[in-house]
């Protein structure tokens, strides 16, 4: 048998070896990430100015802007949020709190996780058939919002369920024990205590939606659009208009894709600038998610 100090030395060596290798891999990955982001910022950041944000696309790179794409992205995201948030939270809540635990719900659960990993282009194809042709929504903001809504719905459901599961069972029992109904337990306890986690999930889902390109290409997002959708507010009664839902649209990542595929150098700079705008929006949303989670964690400790 080996002497104890040999065994210890060998164990120590593997211990240190693993820490060093892991650390190196981490550093390498981070360097690649920072180089990519740094390159994007280096090439595109100076191009971002008021003119760039408020101009329509143009044949001339220096006159072109992202107004229509920015507005399109925001409107599509609103539709996505409106349809995926209530549905996703309700579905997650039902699965976690109400649904009986049997084979059927197990099957549904597995398939929701599967849906989250279906390539987004598949959603685009399905949306083209269903929303654009069957439901006759055309190549509209509504069709795009619904498509992205479907795409992020599994993410919202999964994060909602995780957030709900983090509420300890003894809190539910405490509420039941004074005579609360299931709905009262959900409304007064489960939802309020898990809302930090749910909001985080929603924001992360939406920040994923804002960068999605493929499904919107298949349903026919425009790449060159020099007008805005109809305004949501009108001067005459009833003051609110939903005509914009049926208008054609462009979104930021498609604008970026369009510019990057042009030969002129000026458009490549524009593409980098759109990339920076998308990154800033996404990182901003993720930062908000982290902030919300942190604030809720601080208030509630089990």
């Amino acid at each position: 048998m080996d002497r104890v100090d040999h065994i210890v030395r060998r164990s120590r060596f593997f211990d240190a070896f693993f820490a060093v290798v892991g650390g190196l891999i981490l550093v390498a990955v981070l360097i690649v990430l920072f180089v990519l982001i740094g390159d994007l910022f280096y090439r595109g950041f100076d191009r971002i100015n008021w003119q760039f944000l408020t101009s329509f696309p143009s044949r001339f790179a220096e006159r072109a802007g992202i107004l229509s794409a920015l507005v399109g992205s925001i409107l599509v995201l609103i539709v996505t949020a409106v349809c995926s948030i209530p549905l996703g939270i309700a579905a997650g809540l039902y699965l976690e709190e109400y649904a009986p635990k049997n084979r059927l719900t197990a099957l549904i659960e597995i398939n929701i996780s599967n849906l989250a990993s279906v390539p987004s282009i598949i959603y685009g194809l399905m949306a083209l058939g269903l929303f654009v042709y069957k439901l006759n929504l055309g190549q509209s903001i509504l069709a795009a919002g619904l498509t992205l809504g479907l795409l992020v719905l599994p993410i919202v459901i999964v994060t909602t369920r995780e957030a709900i599961r983090s509420v300890p069972q003894h809190i539910r029992e405490a509420a039941f024990a004074v005579g609360a109904t299931k709905w009262q337990v959900v409304r007064d306890h489960v939802l309020p205590y898990s809302s930090g986690g749910i909001m985080t999930g929603v924001i992360i889902a939406l920040s994923r939606a804002i960068g999605e390109t493929a499904p919107l290409v298949t349903i026919g997002a425009l790449t060159f659009i020099s007008f805005l959708p109809s305004p949501p507010l009108t001067p005459e009664p009833p003051f609110i208009s939903f005509k914009w839902l049926m208008d054609p649209f462009a979104v930021l990542p498609i604008q970026m894709f369009n510019w990057i595929s042009r030969p002129q150098e000026g458009f490549h700079v524009n593409a980098a600038a759109v990339g920076v705008v998308i990154l800033i929006i996404t990182l901003g949303m993720n930062a908000a998610a982290i902030l919300i989670r942190w604030r809720f964690r601080r208030r509630i400790k089990w």
Binding site: P100, K101, P168, H170, I171, R172, E173, A174, A175, F176, A177, V178, G179, A180, T181, Q184, D188, H189, Y193, R299, I300, K301
Partner: protein
Amino acid sequence: MVNSSIYPVKAEVKSLNFYYGQVHALKNINLQIPEKKVVALIGPSGCGKTTLLRCFNRMHDLYPGHTYSGEIVLHPDEVNVLSKDVDPIEVRMRISMVFQKPNPFPKSIYENVAYGLRVRGIRRRSILDEHVERALRSAALWDEVKDRLHSMAFNLSGGQQQRLCIARALAIDPELILFDEPTSALDPIATAKIEELTNELKKEVSIIIVTHNMQQAARISDYTAFMYMGELIEYDETGKIFTKPSKKLTEEYITGHFG
């Protein structure tokens, strides 16, 4: 086994059987709970004492695969709380519970106590205020928290949190309170306070307490039920159980031969 000296009776367990799926966890339990007394349930881990306690407020209904047979009749109106026709919500409004670990809601002290009233739809501030104060006084917590009713319950110490949970259970004016090892997570001083409290509370309400601690059962209960492997072995006045038990098994348990 049924003690004829128990009078008046608050609740009566009649040939109760309970199953966790296939597992027969309670076997033909018969037991009378006297009014305004403390009944202790003792026995080794896994003997079914907590299972029995949770039958009283139908806590088992929250989980699938749990089945009862038999009755738990609540006096004076002779309602069988285990009946399918009786809504468990109604049962829990009459029989409240204090849990093993203090489990206040992450809300204010006030809202914790008021919650049982809120689920009944009581919104009038004056009624809520009155009940909250009374419950906190009964739980011997009022003097410690009266100046910070709206601060978070988590800021209280463990013992205070448990007394808050007792106040929450008292606020709905229950007829019977179930204590599930309420002091197992508390230090000796906090434990002594809770034990003292049960002595006060039994003037108003009937109490069943599950405890691992035989000294505690001897100190605070009027009647003691000894359970073993899902069966009720012996049920008698606490003094008798701890001085001259009639069953060999009871004697072995209380003298520490097993458990």
